[in-house]
């Protein structure tokens, strides 16, 4: 097996909730105590993104999927663990050393209404990253590049002097994609790039992302909550729950034979066109808060197959016969 383009090792991220030292101190039962609380957004995630694939990370809100995306991009620093790009550790690099990786890794955000600067024309928006990463390029080179990316995302290059607000949501997302493509990246992190768009526009943008992958040999880390999109787009899928990966599989395998009880419930909850009534696997209760993580398997409180071991011991990802990796004691023991 070739070495992965991006590898995430033992990633953890906690967001401190307790504030300053003075805010942490409380007076309880006649003595001062220091109380610290944190949101455990990611709790030990290991993932490898192979060159040329689209690895989809799915999960419900609060499962840590966006935090994974942002940590990989270096937008937030991990509490523990490492990020490697093409064999080189990048999460501890300083600004200057990280610069080449900033060009190779680009990000597309969810909301194109927020991710485009309203005071910049499209020309300026696209020019900025090119000039930043290629200060030696001539005016003509820059202009040609802008024309090329605008063309490839289906935006008329003559519209360069317009502002973001003059475009529809779908067009804005195309411009955001053009901005990411402008510096010829190898790896794109897309955080819910189509969830803010209408159905008919979603298809257009998904097609565009697939075309770009093919023509430019891109690698994607694709964050989404929409499993139907994953089935269509992803090479492999990682399902996350409360900051942990509970199942990692080839897209086809995951949809044909989901192994983890959470994945099964998640898949059954997608409303399908052929259904006459909702038919989904009911889970007990709700997602617990990531402030106080459950012991053992994070899913045990809602899992119909949970036993004493699940309440005590944290399950690790193990490979099954089909090649799927599952973090579940029930699957490991053959109970499921």
């Amino acid at each position: 097996m070739t070495s992965p383009l991006v590898s995430i090792r033992g990633l953890e991220k906690r967001f401190d909730l307790s504030g300053s030292l003075l805010e942490q101190i409380t007076f309880e039962g006649g003595r001062f105590r220091r109380k610290q609380e944190a949101v455990h957004a990611i709790n030990g995630v290991d993932l490898e993104v192979q060159k040329g694939e689209a690895l989809c990370v799915v999960g419900e809100s609060g499962c840590g999927k966006s935090t994974v995306a942002r940590t990989v991009m270096g937008l937030i620093s991990p509490s523990a663990g490492e990020i490697h790009y093409d064999g080189q550790r990048i999460d501890n690099l300083d600004g200057k050393a990280a610069l080449p990786y900033r060009r190779k890794m680009q990000m597309i955000f969810q909301n194109p209404y927020a991710s485009l600067n309203p005071r910049m024309t499209i020309q300026q928006t696209l020019e900025e990253p090119i000039r930043f990463h290629h200060p030696d390029w001539s005016q003509t080179q820059v202009r040609d590049k802008i024309h090329e990316v605008m063309h490839s995302v289906g935006i008329d290059p003559d519209w360069g002097s317009r502002f973001g607000h003059e475009f529809s949501g779908g067009q804005r997302q195309r411009i955001a994609i053009a901005r990411a493509l402008a510096v010829d990246p190898e790896f794109i992190v897309a955080d819910e790039p189509i969830s803010a768009l209408d159905v008919s526009i979603q298809a257009q943008v998904l097609n565009l992302l697939m075309d770009a992958q093919e023509s430019r040999g891109l690698t994607y880390l694709f964050i989404t909550h929409d499993l139907a999109v994953v089935e269509h787009f992803g090479t492999r899928v990682a399902v996350m729950y409360l900051g942990r990966v509970c199942e990692l599989a080839d897209t086809r395998n995951l949809f044909a034979a989901p192994r983890h009880p959470y994945t099964q419930a998640l898949l059954s909850a997608i409303p399908k066109l052929e259904d006459d009534r909702p038919n989904h696997i009911r889970l007990k209760g709700e997602v617990p808060t990531p402030v106080n993580l459950p012991s053992g398997c994070v899913f045990h409180g809602r899992c119909p197959y949970a036993n004493e071991r699940c309440r005590q011991e944290v399950p690790q990802l193990i490979a099954t016969d089909g090649g799927t990796q599952v973090a579940c004691h029930a699957v490991e023991e053959g109970r499921l």
Binding site: E60, S61, S168, G170, Q171, D198, V199, S200, I201, Q202, A203, Q204, L206, N207, M210, D211, H225, D226, L227, A228, V229, E231, H232, F233, T251, R252, A265, L266, S268, A269, I270, P271, K272, L273, E274, D275, D276, R277, P278, H280, R282, L283, E286
Partner: protein, 332 residues
């Protein structure tokens, strides 16, 4: 007689430089206990259609024409005073974002009791008992405790259950639900939809469900309307439309879904985007994106034609039906 009948409804927004027509010639009906889906993309007018039923469109919007007959009485012509007796009482609404609809500084119980006392002349204690009963109906764990809690103490799914409980407080005839699960996760969405469907069936409440999710419409509703640019372009039994959509736009909408495509292959896509209300093209509003558009489509809005049990506004479909008829005549 249908429970609710909307006839030729026109809704306009008076803005600088003339009126924008948000709804044009909308007609549909809803029977007792029936579940109707309103489908369309953002800006198609589905929320305006739902809001206008209770005359909840904010200025500069206004109802410019048509009738909204609820049990034979025209809601569009009613005074604010009369309407208030119907809102929340006979016709209830559920909105998209439960955090926006619940008052953050009042307990759940206070808000529920308030809604009951606005319409019924009963004691606070009786009202509280009704509130508790509805919370039990929506299967909220420990309902007594919830009555004294504030909205922020509940999760998103739980809040939406409270909203459904509030909608059910006064045993309405109709519930209008505007994207009730869009803000929720998919597993929670499935639970809420399941709950709403079961309650409507049990209590024989009619449901008008506004959504952009065709999967949800397919699971929950019996009939559906497809809206585009302020018009209904197709309406009929849900199963019939989902399985065999007639209008090119509806077909495109269904085929653009990732679950319809071969995994990894290009998705079917409708070119362009919906025209803004400021420059709706003449004729069929879809003609600029339609593969079947002819000169005729640019001239005038097509009339509805019937195909099976489905009403469609499309010249292409009308021509096909005409052709089929001629062929049958030629055969016999």
């Amino acid at each position: 007689m249908a429970l609710l009948e909307v006839k030729d409804l026109d809704v306009r927004f008076a803005v600088r430089g003339g009126d924008l027509t948000a709804l044009r010639g909308i007609s549909f009906s809803l029977d007792k206990g029936e579940r109707l889906g309103l489908v369309g993309e953002s800006g198609a007018g589905k929320s305006v259609a739902a809001f206008s039923i209770l005359n909840l469109i904010a200025k500069p919007g206004y109802i410019a024409g048509g009738q909204i007959l609820f049990e034979g009485k025209d809601l569009a012509a009613m005074s604010e005073r009369e309407l208030r007796k119907i809102r929340g009482n006979r016709i209830a609404m559920i909105f998209q974002d439960p955090m926006m609809t619940l008052n953050p500084v009042l307990t759940i119980g206070t808000q529920m009791v308030e809604a009951i006392l606005a319409h019924r002349n009963i004691s606070k204690k009786e009202a509280r008992a009704i509130a508790l009963d509805r919370l039990k109906k929506v299967q909220i764990p420990s309902p007594e405790k919830r009555l004294d809690q504030y909205p922020h103490e509940l999760s998103g799914g739980m809040r939406q259950r409270v909203i459904i409980a509030i909608a059910l407080l006064l045993d309405p005839e109709i519930i209008i639900a505007d994207e009730p699960t869009t803000a929720l996760d998919v597993t929670i969405q499935a639970e809420i939809m399941d709950l709403l469907l079961n309650l409507c069936e049990q209590e024989n409440v009619a449901l008008m469900l506004i959504t952009h999710d065709l999967g949800v419409v397919s699971q929950v509703t019996q009939r559906m309307l497809v809206m585009y640019s302020g018009r209904i372009i197709e309406q009929g039994p849900t199963r019939e439309i989902i399985n065999d959509a007639q209008h090119p736009y509806t077909q495109g909408l269904i085929n653009a879904l990732p679950q319809m495509g071969e995994p990894g292959a290009r998705l079917f896509q409708i070119p362009g985007s919906m025209p803004s209300l400021k420059n709706v093209p003449t004729g069929c509003p879809f003609h600029s994106r339609c593969n079947f558009a002819t000169e005729q489509c640019k001239q005038a809005m097509p009339e509805y034609v019937r195909s099976g049990n489905v009403d469609v506004a499309c010249y292409e479909v009308a021509n096909l039906i005409e052709q089929e008829k001629r062929m049958q005549e030629a055969e016999s």
